[in-house]
């Protein structure tokens, strides 16, 4: 009970520090921008730890962060193996293939109004197919190894990427297009010099959405059949073995990998679309 009370205290304290930082004069420095979410995260961890200990929550329901950290540190080789199987092999290859194919398709689709009108609704329909249904089918088709995970990722990222890229390619304003016309520019000149640069914010939007989809897709697909390695495999097996600390260690890996992946894409976005109003401050 006292521990639970301490949890409340930690929460108030963390929030107060953040409030002070965010309103303070240094609020816009990169250091504070990084510190505030970190403090928030640490506060949550502290509260979690204290609540779990204070209320005696069983390990098999919710392990304390300290236990998870210990498991994480103690299982680095396994975690790394799972990471490379699921993320490096499954998610990344699927991401590259899916986004690449969607990009090329978008350029094709964009050339024909008819295709665009016809394909996009169908695409939205296909994108609504729930992954828990498609994953078993793709595992059946592409086998148990990472290839089927990549296929699931391809299916998941293809349409969001397609829709965004197609929308982006139509983003150039009428005036910008007209300008190209007055120069008598060819289709490819128009594409490379106008429509692709103008589409970049949208393309990156698609790429960003796809990062989390790719990760989740690769992990979830492993629930439906896998070799005896991989984050999804480990999670589902560990739940069965009541090794909840391992489950959370894998979740931590997923969250870190996802955030880093997202961060890299966001950074690339910042450098490529530096000109877009949303990137200026």
């Amino acid at each position: 009970m006292t521990l639970a009370f301490a949890a409340l205290l930690v929460w108030i304290l963390g929030w107060a520090v953040n409030g002070w930082l965010a309103r303070g004069p240094m609020a816009n420095t990169p250091l504070v921008r990084l510190a505030v979410p970190l403090i928030f995260g640490l506060t949550i961890l502290g509260v979690w730890e204290l609540v779990v200990r204070g209320l005696n929550v069983p390990l098999v329901i919710l392990p304390a962060p300290s236990l998870i950290a210990a498991r994480f540190a103690g299982s680095l080789p396994v975690l790394w193996e799972d990471f490379s199987q699921t993320i490096l092999k499954g998610a990344l290859s699927g991401y590259v293939i899916g986004c690449g194919a969607a990009f090329l398709m978008a350029i094709l689709v964009d050339r024909s109004d008819f295709l665009r009108r016809g394909l996009l609704p169908v695409g939205n329909f296909v994108a609504a197919l729930p992954i828990v249904g498609t994953a078993p089918i793709l595992v059946m088709w592409f086998g148990f190894d990472w290839q089927s995970k990549a296929a699931v990722v391809v299916v998941m990222v293809f349409f969001p990427m397609l829709v965004n890229t197609v929308a982006g390619l139509r983003e150039a304003t009428q005036m910008q297009r007209d300008l190209m016309q007055t120069y008598g520019a060819s289709y490819w000149q128009g594409l490379v010099k106008l429509r692709l640069p103008a589409a970049m914010p949208f393309i990156f939007n698609g790429l960003k959405i796809s990062t989390t989809l790719a990760l989740i897709g690769a992990i979830v697909a492993e629930f439906f059949g896998s070799p005896t390695v991989g984050m999804g495999f480990r999670i589902s097996t560990s739940v069965g073995q009541l090794a909840l600390d391992m489950v959370w260690a894998e979740i931590v890996v997923a969250a870190i990998a996802g955030s880093v992946f997202y961060g890299i894409v966001a950074l690339a976005e910042k450098t490529v679309t530096f000109w877009h109003p949303s990137q200026r401050r």
Binding site: P58, L59, V60, I61, P136, V139, M140, G143, F144, E222, F223, F224, G225, S226, P227, T228, F233, S236, T237, V239, G240, Q241, L242, A243
Partner: protein, 307 residues
């Protein structure tokens, strides 16, 4: 009436016919019990539900229950309606497999999620590595169906006598195309589908009394199901909310299940228990449990129930 929640370890099917029969026939009501049967699913871990207080009793395979016990979750077997194991490996004959030693270099589908322990014990007893090397077996985490075998993605898969094996045959495969290894025959059988509760709860006399009545009624249900397999299958079908089960399938399953429950009156046979523990401990380098479990079972309930 006292309420009891029972967590199954899989979806509603004839594997759990005894409980559904007992409920349907009013055996539980007769014992002044209000029993709620919670179906399981592909990623629901019954011990976790038990630990969370979501259920009073669970069905589980003994290896998984013992492993949970070692993990610090004190579950206790209070009854064992299943005498015999229904677990087996089903392989294509044309892979040239004739015995366990031929598994080397082959691909084998295994259920995980706490159901991998019997297989791992068996392999370590045979001295076969399971890490995918050339002189070991390549293990796949098998999904929920027999496709890996039919699609030839695996040379062998895990099947239950009462369920997946029938599905393989249903898919048109002839029995002589297959070779099967029953764990029971290989001497590595482990106890399946026992009833488990949390140790602490048992100290409460009211709870223990509730369990006595529960086990008594359940066993009555089981025995009825054994004798009236068609009716039992029908009751199971009535309770299946997915509407996906077929009558033929459930009738056959009930027939096979009856063979597994046949030798049990509900009380755990100590010899069976010891054989299970030995199998699990015997697993050479990578045993499932590391030491002889203490207090993992009790006759306290069955003694009372079967009086």
């Amino acid at each position: 009436a006292d309420s009891v929640k029972l967590q199954l370890q899989w979806v509603t099917q004839a594997q759990f016919a005894g409980y559904y029969v007992a409920k349907d026939k009013g055996y539980y009501t007769d014992e002044n019990l209000d029993v709620e049967i919670l179906p399981g699913g592909p990623d629901i871990a019954p011990p976790q539900v038990l630990a969370g207080g979501g259920a009073d009793a669970m069905l589980n395979w003994m290896p998984s229950a013992l492993a949970a016990r070692e993990k610090g979750l004190p579950v206790v077997n209070i009854a064992q309606p299943f005498k015999t194991s229904g677990l087996m490996l089903t392989c294509w004959k044309d892979t040239g497999i004739t015995g366990p030693q031929d598994f080397k270099g082959k691909t084998i589908g295994v259920w995980f999620f706490g159901n991998e322990y019997p297989f791992l014990s068996w392999m370590s007893k045979e001295g076969i590595k399971t890490d995918g090397g050339p002189d070991g077996v390549t293990v796949l985490k098998q999904g929920f169906n027999v496709d890996p075998l039919l699609q030839r993605q695996a040379d062998c898969i895990s099947t239950m006598t009462y369920n997946e094996y029938g599905q393989v045959l249903d898919a048109g495969v002839k029995e002589d195309e297959l070779i099967t290894f029953k764990y029971e025959d290989m001497g590595v059988a482990t106890l399946e589908d026992g009833i488990y509760v949390l140790e602490d709860n048992l100290k409460d006399p009211a709870f223990a009394d509730k369990m006595v009545r529960f086990v008594r009624a359940s066993m009555k249900g089981w025995k009825y199901a054994e004798e009236h397999p068609d009716e039992a299958a029908g009751i199971v079908l009535d309770n299946d909310a997915t509407g996906a089960q077929t009558e033929a399938h459930q009738v056959r399953m009930m027939g096979e299940i009856a063979k597994l429950t046949a030798g049990s009156n509900g009380a755990l046979d100590e010899a069976d228990y010891q054989r299970t523990v030995d199998t699990l401990l015997g697993g050479g380098s990578d045993p499932v449990i590391s030491k002889q479990p203490e207090g993992a079972w009790t006759h306290q309930i069955t003694d009372e129930a079967l009086k």
